[in-house]
Point group: C2
Chain length 228, copies 2
Amino acid sequence: FIHLDSIEKTFSNGKLSYHALKGVNLSIDRGELVALVGPSGSGKSTAMHLMGLLDTPSKGRYLLDGLPTSQLTSDERAHWRNEKIGFIFQQFFLLPKFNALNNVVLPLRYRKEKLENPIQIARDRLADVSMLPYEAHRPYELSGGQQQRVAIARALVSNPDIILADEPTGALDSKTSADVLDLLKEINQARQTTIIIVTHDHHVAQQCDRIIQIHDGLIVDDSVSTGG
Amino acid sequence: FIHLDSIEKTFSNGKLSYHALKGVNLSIDRGELVALVGPSGSGKSTAMHLMGLLDTPSKGRYLLDGLPTSQLTSDERAHWRNEKIGFIFQQFFLLPKFNALNNVVLPLRYRKEKLENPIQIARDRLADVSMLPYEAHRPYELSGGQQQRVAIARALVSNPDIILADEPTGALDSKTSADVLDLLKEINQARQTTIIIVTHDHHVAQQCDRIIQIHDGLIVDDSVSTGG
Ligand SMILES: Nc1ncnc2c1ncn2[C@@H]1O[C@H](COP(=O)(O)OP(=O)(O)OP(=O)(O)O)[C@@H](O)[C@H]1O
Ligand SMILES: Nc1ncnc2c1ncn2[C@@H]1O[C@H](COP(=O)(O)OP(=O)(O)OP(=O)(O)O)[C@@H](O)[C@H]1O
Ligand SMILES: [Mg+2]
Ligand SMILES: [Mg+2]
């Protein structure tokens, strides 16, 4: 379903050239719940941005549901990104001029076929992360962990096929972390949503079915989780 | 040294009024290494901003080194903030147009008496967090954990009397987290720097001398750490 074949990613800005991914091979089937772990700077967010179609590889191929992504039209890429992939960013990226409710409902306004009750759906997702009482708060009126939870609600609102969660519990206390992980596991089991979680938290990694370890731009281990 | 007396903080934006701190009493002596823990939204960052003179209480008094902070002139407040307090923000707040080295050296440019070799000092602090090879990278050219480490180096560069670290290891893997905590403990012991660390990581909290628990804007526990 998600297939990375000899993927390389190099960042250059004229003066310096940085090889963030040096030849990554990875196959993830539909419905898998996968943890991606590794040291700071090892390439996790870079890999997530490639899988989320937010960036393109320097070398290698990315096949998504059998299709070479290099051959997608820009409309098709936008369709995947907006409706089929839900991305929870390491830095949240909520829009500062919108309150929590409007941040969460925004992806639904971009759909081709409009839904009947987008506000109710957005409220349900906020309730899922215990943030409904804060629907009128703007991002700067929320704590770090509250902003993270709004970013999570926003990624879920389109019922995506794939959820890419880049450190979704980094700013959360252990109880709230456990709630978020239970929510993601429930979505994975109820809807066969493919979920990839970047995490530095071993408790979170152990609760996934499979753990992929990345180090210095290469995958160094890829095995079934023993459940901790 | 840091003394909060019946501190309350209420945020209002016309429509909604939120009591983030509801009567906090806290005394921290010079040279203490204290963890501040509690659920997401409980008031930790709010308390840190008050202690760092980045915000003022709605009620109550904050005495710093015996002085009522409400009576500080704005020059004195700036002096404390820029030279005596090092603040590591939950969201880093690096300046996007400056590279890592320039972000770290910037506080030294604001001092009244200029130092002889600010660039070397900045490089030493970057080396302390293993970020010297990245001195020319701008924030968007760094991973989340790398940005966090640059923010830490920046907070240390003025040799402050007080370090306020708001979740300094949130984006770091366990090895890098342990390195950062060792660095902070070393500074605490070598220079009697007063350090307050907000953390969701129990390993980090256990390594401090004292753990303060906050819940819904009130302190619910304040005791010596048992060392985990
Ligand atoms: N400007 C504001 N207006 C309204 N409410 C606010 C504002 N700033 C913070 N709050 C509220 O104050 C409470 C405390 O926020 P704070 O940032 O101190 O929490 P925290 O303990 O640091 O949480 P986290 O662990 O998630 O970072 C939160 O419930 C938040 O919604
Ligand atoms: N635009 C860029 N230009 C240069 N180097 C970059 C750029 N973006 C990322 N890098 C480098 O690529 C490497 C991988 O970054 P990435 O963000 O994928 O790491 P990560 O595994 O997510 O780390 P963390 O756990 O700290 O978030 C880092 O060493 C970073 O410095
Ligand atoms: Mg990252
Ligand atoms: Mg906070």
